[in-house]
């Protein structure tokens, strides 16, 4: 079997976002980057899949200069090498542009049998990129994957739907978008981290990719980006004995419509 390519996104850590309570403006300037949480599970899923099939895992990302740290991190999680489409436009690309970039990079990488993506990115959670890559490469897409297994050139997967599990099969090459529960994402150990720093990274610029006119123009525009700030009701129940307090609490919860 040939390469397993795992796509990951470098996002802003949500804990570091600052929201101005008055204007709800979001300040990203102090936020550090991280590999999108679900993509960490995806990287491990790719590693396990390629290990079982005796092939190589390749990590791929579309990111700005900021994503440089991401590559080391990703490589310490198992992939043998990484490819990086480096362009600032990554910072506000939509699923359309991102999928175009990644698909073009995948074509350039050439041989692949499985493409693994996280089900959604930690920041936008748009579920766009995996399915779009599948469409661009004209190969099957299996989404919401919670289990998968490769036998020869066939992929067996379990999809987790709202109230049921669906077993599906497809011929490779294929794209899977995986749920975080597919497997844990272990924290890399010392040796893995040291090796990660030494593995090869290939950088592509947009000009290096075979793209068509319009491939780099977004299909969706973000009109506004605002924080969501919950104002608390600040109800304090501290009168009476325990029984009275509980009664008051239950009454208050009922009044709010939560019970």
């Amino acid at each position: 079997m040939s390469n397993v390519i795992v796509c990951f996104k470098w996002v802003k850590a949500e804990d570091d976002l600052r929201i101005d309570p008055a204007t709800l403006a979001v300040d990203l300037s102090k936020a550090k980057g991280k590999i999108s949480d679900y993509d960490r599970n995806a990287i491990e899923a790719a590693r396990i899949a390629s290990e079982s099939a005796g092939s190589e895992t390749i990590a791929l990302t579309f990111g700005s200069n900021d994503a440089k740290t991401a590559l080391k991190d990703a490589l310490s999680r198992g992939p043998k090498q990484a490819f990086w489409v480096n362009d600032v436009s990554a910072e506000n690309a939509d699923g359309f542009v991102t999928a175009n970039m990644l698909a073009a990079a995948i074509r350039k990488i050439g041989s692949y049998s499985l493409i693994v993506c996280g089900e959604g990115a930690a920041d936008t959670y748009a579920h766009q990129v995996g399915p779009r890559i599948g469409a661009l490469l004209d190969i099957p897409v299996i989404s919401f994957v919670k289990e998968m297994r490769i036998e020869g050139s066939r992929l067996y997967a379990v999809r987790k739907l709202e109230d049921s599990l669906e077993q599906v099969e497809a011929d490779l090459p294929a794209v899977v978008t995986v749920l975080p529960e597919i497997n844990p994402a272990p924290i890399p150990g010392l040796k893995a981290v040291l090796e990660g720093g030494k593995k090869p990274v290939t950088e592509f610029k947009i000009q290096d990719l075979d793209l068509e006119d319009g491939d780099t123009s977004r299909k969706t525009d973000v009109v506004s980006f605002k924080g969501c700030s919950m104002s608390r009701k600040k109800i304090l129940i501290n009168e009476g004995d325990a029984k009275e307090k509980v009664t008051a609490l239950v009454a208050a919860l009922k009044k709010e419509g939560v019970l």
Binding site: K32, G189, L190
Partner: protein
């Protein structure tokens, strides 16, 4: 063991000590690995927040110009508090900040500074592995030969413990005893964000200038004190307490700290600010006499606060600069190629670290005077109260007033003389 798994030096901890050591060694071509448990250097580190610049110049002349520093300290302040009253002394000396020269001291934020410093060591060729905790040392025939982390083992000619105040590594190696609750302080600290302009107005600073304020009498009599440093767009405010006393005091350290924030002399300085970080950390209090007898054994060296290199002398806390200096001394010892143990001590003396700490050793005795933390701030405020209370009534003479204040605070002449002599001797 393969070549891949072996370094010249493994340093545990990417605090100022470990990073300074790594920088210096890597610059001389040594193959250095720094292992840091935080996800990034500085991510977990709590400090007060002022730094004496000379130390960076020892690492590399001019390095400070590019450093992630906040404001240069132009105002040194001491505040004595008694209840709602306070007395502040503000000292400024332009000679500390002559234009065109290296300013003497800066306020810093460790999360920013440590990460910058680690990136500089990386530029010199050091390998920094973050997000990994060293679990223990590897010992072979009485010699330390490497470290264990998770399931991995990594070997080196020399391991350097730069793992900070409560060094598990130095303890494990039998070099440093268990910390005693009488010789350490517990620090709590908040970083409170405010616009640069607001900070400059409230502290009467020009752009880029900063204040360092230490407080006495804000710990309800517990051995300790408060500190406040102005950063570019935030204020670091905290308090250090002796834990054994705090435990028997009856009130939570955190609550005493909250009261400090609400003090009429402090609240106006932080009003409207937003707390963005809260942290607690230990700090050694013993100074010179707290330095362990042995800082080296075959294959292992101890640097920074792990080795006791901190000075808490009431008007300032110095740990970051001393950590850096000790890291440079250790690196120089390694580079010299001499017998590392003696060479390290020689370098610690050459670089003036041990002599500087010895020179102020007596402060520990001064700070042991208990009346410093409540009684004397009260006495001083009492005297000022007498001086400044004007009501039209016939005042008592200042002399008489002072006696009255001493009596109110149950301080005898004998105690005053004794503390005076003790204080004088200790400095």
């Amino acid at each position: 063991m393969s070549g891949e798994d072996k370094f010249d030096v493994i340093i545990i901890g990417a605090g100022p000590a470990g990073t300074a050591c790594a920088y210096t060694l890597a610059k001389e071509g040594k193959n250095v690995l720094v292992i840091e448990r935080g996800t990034a250097a500085g991510s977990k580190n709590v400090t007060g927040g002022r730094f004496y610049t000379y130390a960076l110049d020892l690492v590399e002349p001019g390095l400070w110009e590019d450093a992630a520093l906040e404001r240069k300290v132009t105002h040194e302040q001491i505040m004595m508090m008694a209840g709602e009253q306070s007395i502040t002394i503000d000292y400024s000396n332009p000679a500390f900040n002559k234009s065109g020269e290296m300013p003497q001291s800066f306020t810093i934020l460790r999360a920013v500074f440590d990460e910058w410093f680690a990136s500089k060591a990386e530029e010199q060729g050091a390998v920094i592995a973050c997000g990994i905790k060293v679990d223990g040392l590897i010992e072979e025939a009485g010699r330390i030969t490497g470290v264990k982390a998770g399931g991995d083992e990594m070997f080196a000619d020399l391991v350097i413990a730069a793992d900070g105040v409560n060094s598990m590594i130095a303890r494990q190696a039998g070099l440093v005893p268990e910390l005693s609750d009488k010789t350490i302080g517990v620090g709590v600290k908040e970083i409170i964000e405010l616009p640069a302009k607001t900070i400059e107005e409230r502290f009467h600073l020009k752009s880029g200038e900063g204040a360092s304020l230490l407080m006495l009498g804000c710990t309800e009599g517990i051995h300790g004190g408060g500190f406040l440093y102005t950063n570019n767009e935030s204020i670091s405010l905290g308090c250090v307490f002796t834990p054994s006393e705090a435990a028997s005091h009856g009130r939570q350290v955190h609550d005493i700290f909250q009261d400090l924030k609400m003090h009429p002399s402090i609240y106006p300085l932080i009003e409207g600010g937003k707390t963005v970080e809260y942290g607690a950390h230990l700090v050694r209090e013993e100074g010179y006499r707290g330095i362990p007898k042995k800082l080296y054994r075959d294959g292992l060296m101890v640097i920074g606060e792990a080795a006791g290199f901190v000075l808490n002398i009431g008007y300032t806390i110095r740990g970051i600069d001393l950590a850096i200096v000790s890291g440079v001394a250790a690196a120089r010892a390694v580079i010299s190629g001499k017998n590392p143990g003696p060479a390290y001590f020689e370098e610690l003396n050459n670089i003036k670290l041990l002599p500087s700490m010895k020179a102020v050793d007596g402060y520990f005795d001064l700070l042991e005077i208990h009346r410093l933390y409540e009684t004397y701030p009260k006495v001083a405020s009492g005297v000022f109260n007498k001086m400044y209370s004007i009501s039209g009534e016939t005042p008592v003479s200042i002399k008489k007033g002072i006696w009255g204040v001493l009596k109110d605070n149950k301080v005898s002449l004998w105690q005053l003389v004794k503390d005076g002599i003790r204080g004088y001797r200790s400095i």
